[in-house]
């Protein structure tokens, strides 16, 4: 159903990295939502609700970004409703933050073709446009149906299905008590339902926490390699990409800026970012700038590979390193410790042994012993990354085989650098130059002269040809509603918002039960939670509920 009185939000600019992105808010509450989120840069600019049509105001959006707000008053806007456009920076985290804040302030994610539909219903498009709008809706519906079908087959939607079924079972229990039980309320029913709801609550919490992986599948996993200078970060990047992209040398601080490479791994897209090493000992301004950028990259990471290699840094650097790692974890960014130069371990003093250091300072962290000379280590790392994408969490058991791979199994560095790594199923992609696409960041300060720029056309062609990217294309196609593809993000945000609300409602039901509220009220809240999930599962809630009651309980006297 589509109540046209809602205020809707969506990005009008295509997804992906861009300098600027524009989000549109349309509907009666657009002004109120902007009032809640937008702070004009100074009081010479009006509050959003006091802006006239076609006015601009610079300011801050929900503390997320500096933006410019444009106001188009009804009926003089595209949709014929009050429309506010928020021009923000184009980074992924910023775009998501801006949209999520609008959704939490009362907007709803726009459905496919919804802006055009409203424009038509409000007389902004002429009659001849109606057919085009219908075609659009029809095409969207078909795409959505396909997307829904594919998503139903996907792990993520299966996960939603499982949670929804869990809630249906609880609601069926409640409804059975309300509709069919002759007796008055029993304590054990309240206890059972409360504990079942708590289980559902934590299952939903888990789902929310794994949602990252849903976006990762569509948009690619941002893997940031970090660590102190000269721990082998660039070698790790090269091994993962199968080519020599970053300059590898023994001189600390060789990588002065972030280096970005896109690779595919088992059909998933990875955005690898190599960063400048963190060091307190430098006063080289370029290196310092590189360190700042490394910090920015870390904040956008889906996962950080933090490399610890011998010789271990100074105590001061160690402390900084530990603080940084803990700060990342506190932000909810998973960190995999890479204990590098593992081949050197037998020669190390215990004071310089990263395994001992990590075990002492980061006892519960997932970690992996790594040597670029050991092909098994690369396989294990790739397995870990794929598992992370698919499960949404890191396997936390340490992966620390005996140090030092036998000499005969070692590959020489050159072989890896040329991308001819042997014995590696995952390197399907890396062995064929066509299947690995490198995009070098425009922010790069120094370039290895061996690395050429690829222009955009070449990049797209390569992406298209790359067999390994099929899964990504498919998913992007499935989830992309408009030709701009902006629903890649929205679909995700919409689902996330639905699960978030279902979680909130479930938590409310738990506290209502604990406060002694009557079952009829608790049932309303659980039903609302299910309705939120039904936005993803597409269930007819009443029918499914009644089926569940009858299949689970022997009803009738």
């Amino acid at each position: 159903m589509n109540p046209d009185q809602d205020t809707i939000a969506a990005f009008s600019t295509p997804p992906g990295e861009s300098g600027i992105a524009v989000m549109r808010l349309s509907g009666p509450d657009a002004a109120a939502i902007c009032d809640r989120l937008f702070v004009p840069v100074s009081n010479t600019f009006p509050k959003p609700s006091q802006m006239k049509g076609y006015t601009l105001a610079p300011g801050t959006w929900a503390g997320i970004d500096d933006v410019v707000l444009s106001c188009f008053r009804a009926p003089c806007s595209y949709t014929g409703e009050d429309v506010y456009e928020i021009s923000c920076h184009g980074g992924k985290a910023i775009r998501e933050g801006v949209l999520a804040s609008a959704l939490s302030a009362g907007a709803r994610a726009a459905g496919p073709g919804e802006y055009s539909r409203r424009a038509f219903l409000n007389g902004k498009l002429d009659l001849a446009s109606a057919e085009a709008v219908m075609d659009l809706i029809e095409a969207q519906a078909e795409k959505q149906a396909k997307a829904a079908y594919r998503q139903l087959k996907g792990d993520l939607s299966n996960a939603v299905r499982i949670r929804a079924d869990q809630l249906y079972a609880i609601l069926a229990h409640l409804e059975m008590l309300l509709d069919w039980d002759e007796e008055e309320e029993r304590d054990e029913d309240r206890i059972t339902i409360t504990s079942d709801l708590k289980e559902a609550e934590s299952a939903l919490q888990h789902l929310v926490s794994t949602f990252r992986s849903g976006r990762v599948v569509r948009e690619g996993l941002h893997v940031v390699i970090a660590g102190n200078p000269n721990v082998g970060k660039s070698s790790l990047l090269n091994a993962l990409s199968g080519r020599s992209r970053a300059i590898v040398s023994d001189i600390p601080g060789t990588t002065r800026d972030t280096v970005d490479i896109d690779v595919t791994l088992d059909g998933y897209l990875l955005h690898l970012t190599d960063t400048a090493g963190f060091s307190c000992e430098t006063d080289d301004p370029i290196e310092l700038e590189g360190i700042i950028r490394a910090g920015d990259a870390l904040n956008e990471a889906d996962i950080v590979l933090w490399v610890l290699s011998p010789p271990l840094p100074t105590h001061q650097d160690r402390r900084h390193q530990e603080e940084r790692i803990k700060a990342l974890v506190a932000q909810g960014i998973p960190v995999l410790l890479i204990l590098g130069k593992d081949d050197l371990r037998p020669t190390l003093s215990s004071d310089d042994d990263p395994v001992l250091y990590a075990a002492e300072r980061f006892p519960d962290f997932p970690m992996l012993a790594w040597s670029y000379k050991d092909p098994e280590a690369l396989i294990r790392l790739k397995e870990k990354l794929v598992a992370f994408i698919e499960k949404g969490e890191l396997d936390s058991s340490p992966d620390l085989p005996m140090a030092g791979a036998p000499e005969d199994q070692c590959l020489d560095a050159k072989k890896i650098e040329t991308g001819a790594a042997a014995g590696d199923d995952f390197l399907r992609t890396a062995t064929d130059a066509n299947q690995t696409v490198a995009v070098v960041s425009e922010r790069r300060l120094y370039l290895d002269e061996n690395v050429g720029f690829l222009d955009e056309t070449t990049e797209k062609e390569l992406l298209r040809e790359a067999g390994g990217t099929a899964k990504r294309d498919l998913l992007q196609d499935a989830s992309s509603g408009r030709s701009t593809g902006s629903e890649v993000l929205i679909t995700h945000e919409r689902h996330k918002a639905a699960v978030d609300r279902a979680l909130d409602l479930t938590s409310q039901a738990v506290s209502d039960l604990e406060r002694g509220l009557s079952f009829d009220l608790v049932a309303i809240t659980v039903r609302e939670a299910i309705s939120e999930l039904s936005l993803i599962t597409g269930d007819d809630v009443s029918e499914t509920l009644i089926e569940t009651i009858f299949s689970r309980f022997c009803i009738g006297k």
Binding site: M1, N2, L127, A130, E138, R515, G556
Partner: protein, 643 residues
Amino acid sequence: MPSLAEAMQQKHAFLAGEADIIVVGAGHAGCEAALAAARLGCRVILFTMTLDSLANLPCNPNIGGTAKGQMVREIDALGGEMGRLADEHMIQFRMLNASKGPAVKSPRAQIDRTGYQRGMKQVLESEPNIRLIQQEIVGLLVDNGAVEGVIAATGSLYRASRVILCPGTFMDAEVIIGESVCSSGPDQLAPSCGLGDALKALGLPTTRFKTGTPGRFHFRSLDTDVMELQHADAVPRPFSFDNEDDPSWQPLAEKPCYITWTTPATKKLIEDNLDRSPLYSGVIKGIGPRYCPSIEDKMVKFPDHERHHVFLEPTGLDTAEMYASGLSSSMPEDVQAGIYKTVPGMEHVEVMRPAYAIEYLLVDPTSLTLALETKAVHGLYLAGQINGSSGYEEAAAQGLMAGINAVRSLRGESPIIIDRSQAYIGVLIDDLVTKGTSEPYRLMTSRAEYRLLLRQDNADARLTPLGHEIGLISDDRWHRFLEKQSAIEKEKNRLKSVRVPKDALSDRVLEEAGSTPLKYSVNLLSLMKRPELNYDKLALLDPDRPDLAASVRECVEVDIRYEGYIRLEQERVDRFRKLERRLIPQDIDYKKIRGIRLEARQKLDARRPVSIGQAGRISGVSPADIQVLLVWLEQHHRQMSAT
């Protein structure tokens, strides 16, 4: 179907009667339909196959229960009869779910069956606008798509331009007990043969359902000592708002129920004899209700259940017949006898009536409008089990609405359509007509989206103004209603104005009620919202409290304590109503609308929903189809206003 003119051409044709409205069948639907139409001033002929068994309760001897009890209150609030009669013949009252919240509190009463039947007959006989006739109706007179009257089995003709069919489970009915299958209605009454063929000939889609009833047993043969007693509530409550707060109203008697359980031996016996069950041998083809399974069904579908409840319920004041709720069965008589021997307290039962299953013909309710008129034949209305529902209350509610709407149609007035947010009656009719049903439909509170608004305590506030507008509420009742509503408002305002100080008394009262002491003074209204408190527990802090009727106190309490939830529910209703108000022109040609998927197009074309809201509830119509429809409607609207 012949027209009246054609039928009158026949030799010896006899026009035996004329009326504004003819009602066929005097069960709960037919009686309410006839009474509503007559009370609205129409001349009514009510046909029954036997005057000795109208308003029968052939299955469970009770009225009300979850959702159904709320609906009996709604029928009463609109001016129907069922609640008043149930109050007169009540032999046990229980308020179900009293501890589970106001939304699901449901009145239920055991009823003196023969008393209820006699009472209904008296009401019908004393209604000047009703002619009560014992005749079987076998055909319809139809001219040019509009009904003109009915044909009796004797060949006599009766004329009326509005006909309401309420044949219950009698149409082409077959009673099945094990291997025995015979053409019969419930309680060995004659089935109705002929009417079903007439409906098929008119092109109405029909199907068959199955339902059943357990046996009846002589009270003296039950060993009630080994059973659990289930007493009536200490404070009985009437269904009817007429009897509310009337100190002279009392149930007729207070007869208890008895509870026992099946045993593993019951299960084994049934499993050993499943091949003789007509349900599993294929004799029964009709679809039975899942909420009221036979005992053999329960054993098969829930093999892990050790035992199942059996309730022995009194069926009347002056009879020894006991109804064994939970033991519905279509097993052969010898297997039934074996089953009873395995149930504690029933080892030596004297069976007075065996359990049986009954299969009957019905019409697919999606062929009706929300006014319960057939889309195929103008002036022809269907109500009750013919529409796929089950239950006395569901039948009565449909009968009442069909009666009201037949009158309004006759007078050229728009039909009264009660929506899902107003009453269970609206949920019932919308479910049947919009979604259809694949089994005998029983109302449940979980079918209502706005359950918290559809309470038994506020049925009058929801519907009595409508009943008054329709013309079924007496002036006397209307004035009492207005007084009650203003008393509720007055008391809520008073509670808002009375402040409770933070002092030793409030500390003590709150502590005794299991609550926390005040931090600062608050009004009584906000104090009442604490989950652990209620109106009564605060009496000591409210010395100037007026002496209010129990019904007023109940409404005040629910309104205040659930205010936040009720407001949220009301917001949902407002959103729901927006879509219900987006009407679809009835001449719409779905075939011409591009972009609606084939399945949805076919469903929309067949069901002809009146609003966008109703269209969205049809299974197989997706949100995208609705969007296309909205765009089309706007396009259509603009073309209309342009020309």
